[in-house]
Symmetry: D2
Subunit: 255 residues, 4 copies
């Protein structure tokens, strides 16, 4: 059986999904179920996790069935991120978390200096930190050496749906990593998720690609299949690329 | 249920696979089973379909379980192709066929002039012709108007594994077609198959991508999942691409 | 000196430009001068070449300074194309011509069957035929063997500005050709033209990329420089691509 | 006249070139002359700038004709980089410098944490710092706000020749910058340099693409023309991309 582990926990699904941007909590629940995800990210600052008088995520996406991964969406400094995750831990006992510290709009690119600062505090504080980051192999290695339990480089700007822009850096990060690597952000459609897995990533995290599809439930099923397809293709070992079927004609260096 | 039809027959699997290039007939059978394919192409000139003293494809890939699609691999003129398919019809009663007439090595690109000539004769002769062709929208339309039952443009040279080189022409062919369109040739790995389906193709036909993978059985499963993923993503309707998540910032024309 | 020859005539500029789609004949003349082109295509059916009471192209783009290359823009059958070029020869004595026979709107893709028919008649008729065609290596070879003096595959649909969609087919056509190969149609900006030349093409033909730029004169200068850049880079022989600067780390097959 | 300024100095050439990796100082000089560069980078730790008994760069690339830009090639910490540039300033009076602090082999990706630390010290020390960096828009903005006089994101790993991997991040950096942006590293051939300029960069810096070409002098001329072409195309404003020439047929979102 092909499973992966993060922070000592074992998962079979290699697709992690967000819980935001849906039209309703019903749709959220149905899309997540269709995706087969075992881990869901939860924007602590945006989702109602504690007011029982309003609709609560937990009633639709039961925490005993899904691993909740609180994230720091909406945080633009290390301090905000640390404070947010401490509150989450107090509220729900979560210590496996997703750290993201974003730069300013419009592009909301990861702020790596703040991310590194926050990671340091959180790890010292006992959190298991899965970290959203730029596709920067040096920063990725540093985050791993600090003790982050998973490295999650972006494929393209959050919410852009542009697909993986730089296969070289993702590949460099995968080659050097001893902890799981997940592409997080930028996936727009099924083939994007498959490509992430074919590059050797351990899993894919996405939200808008499902929530903003015309039919989110069907796209959730598409993403489930795409991640499985990409994983299997990576394990299977693809055929070599060549210019001609004729094996004696090597691929010209000019293409 | 999401099915497609060709020549009045209905299929659920959108992955068609070849039966050649494997290390053994056992591996052929196992890979095809793993692929979930309902239609298999058979190179009439290359596969033993009639000598019971040698291992026969039919013993491993039973014709009562799979739809055999005889093809004209190895034919370089219209005459050869027509003769080959007539022999196949006499031998096995097949009238749903795949026509391919290739130019010379090394690139073995489709010879469209010969293909058009052969298609005309075969259709007059009562064959149901699925036609392998260049990704040429004008030729594709002509083949459809002549009566071909499916249009099968190449994604890249046969056996190259380079993936779909020209999304524009595939898309143009899909937009204008009233019969099924299949990408045939050029798929190298799972994401390539997903992309073909995301472009709106009805199905994908491949052989080397499975047979020449390090682990053909696992790659067959990958391709099955990839075709399903791409089909679901196409039906689901992908999110728009944009440069920023911020909806007020339109994608710059410069990227 | 780096020159190229077609039909026994020698040219130094590797950029051929159209004369249509400009806002005025003044702009046409200025853009062509800025492009450095020595050959200009002229749409016989659209340009005023004979009515001295209306503004005439020849007054702005003197035929004694530029080689006029009459083309068959607007022709959708072999007969129309042949008739158009015969009229052009009678009117202006031109025998070096550009044949294009297009399929129907909206995509106006080359109609190769009609193109092959027209080429045969024109060559028999003594024309020197430079032929616009699909990026189909088998058809390209056939046109060359029939006697066409230059092969001009499209890079992308006419007027699309999408850049060269399929480097594999252009490269295959270049590798096999004994007559000049020009990319014709699809160039949108300077780098597209450079890429065509880096693939080994002998020249580039374009029109909209200059005429529909915001500043056509400046874009004409850009294209002149881009074609020179691409040609020089092709001759210079580019550095190898590799994943790392470290020569002992070979480029991973996965990127 | 189209010029650009950095640190109050005005330049017409938008191509900056390195002085290393050539087979001889004669070839270095000839390639630089052919490139038209006005600024040359000098690896202070690797080039002989002070021993008159050995061949000296200054004798071949005269500092009164070219602006020397000392760089910190070979430095992997902020301290090494600062020390190296202080020595260079003492030796040659140079205060316009290129800072680069690289991570470990094999990929030698920029170490942004060390780069930020070094930039702070150097700016305080009175240097005009042109900074090599990851294609990280947040880090780029921070470096600009600290006082760096030019931002120089990589297009691809140093010495890889892979071309610009991520047009989105380069474009984001260009859009937000108030100081010059140069693509530095990753250019492999002429079209890569043109693309950098078409994205709106102010200039391009490269070395291996010329030094490791088969014919460096000719490639230097190619790069000169390519940078001019890309710049002119950017200024000219390219035609819109569309799927069809027919203006009423909008580009399908599926391509």
């Amino acid at each position: 059986e092909d499973a992966w582990e993060v922070a000592g926990r074992r998962f079979r699904s290699r697709l992690l999904v967000g819980t935001g941007r849906y039209r309703s909590l019903e749709e959220t629940a149905a899309a997540i179920a269709a995706s087969g995800a075992e881990i869901v990210t939860v924007a602590v600052r945006r989702v109602n996790l504690s007011d029982p008088s309003a609709p609560m995520l937990q009633d639709y996406v039961p925490p005993d069935r899904y691993t909740y991964l609180p994230n720091t969406a909406g945080c633009h400094t290390a301090e905000e991120a640390v404070r947010t995750l401490r509150l989450a831990r107090e509220a729900g006992g979560w210590d496996l978390v997703k750290l993201e510290v974003l730069g300013p709009p419009p592009h909301l690119y990861p702020d790596m200096a703040e991310t590194l600062r926050a990671a340091e505090v959180l790890i010292r504080d006992g959190f298991k930190v899965m970290v959203y980051c730029a596709d920067d192999p040096v920063a990725a290695k540093r985050l791993e050496e600090m003790g982050c339990v998973a490295i999650m480089p972006l494929g393209a700007p959050i919410g852009s749906g542009l697909g993986i822009q730089n296969r070289v850096t993702i590949r460099l990060i995968v080659e050097q990593a001893k902890v799981p690597v997940l592409v997080d952000a930028g996936v727009g459609t099924a083939s994007d998720a498959a490509i992430a897995m074919e590059l050797g990533c351990d899993a894919v995290l996405l939200n808008s690609a499902i929530a903003h599809a015309k039919d989110p439930i069907r796209m959730a099923r598409a993403m489930k299949a795409a991640v499985e397809a990409g994983r299997l293709a990576y394990l299977a070992g693809r055929m070599p690329r060549k210019l001609y079927a004729d094996p004696s004609s090597p691929l010209s260096g000019l293409i």
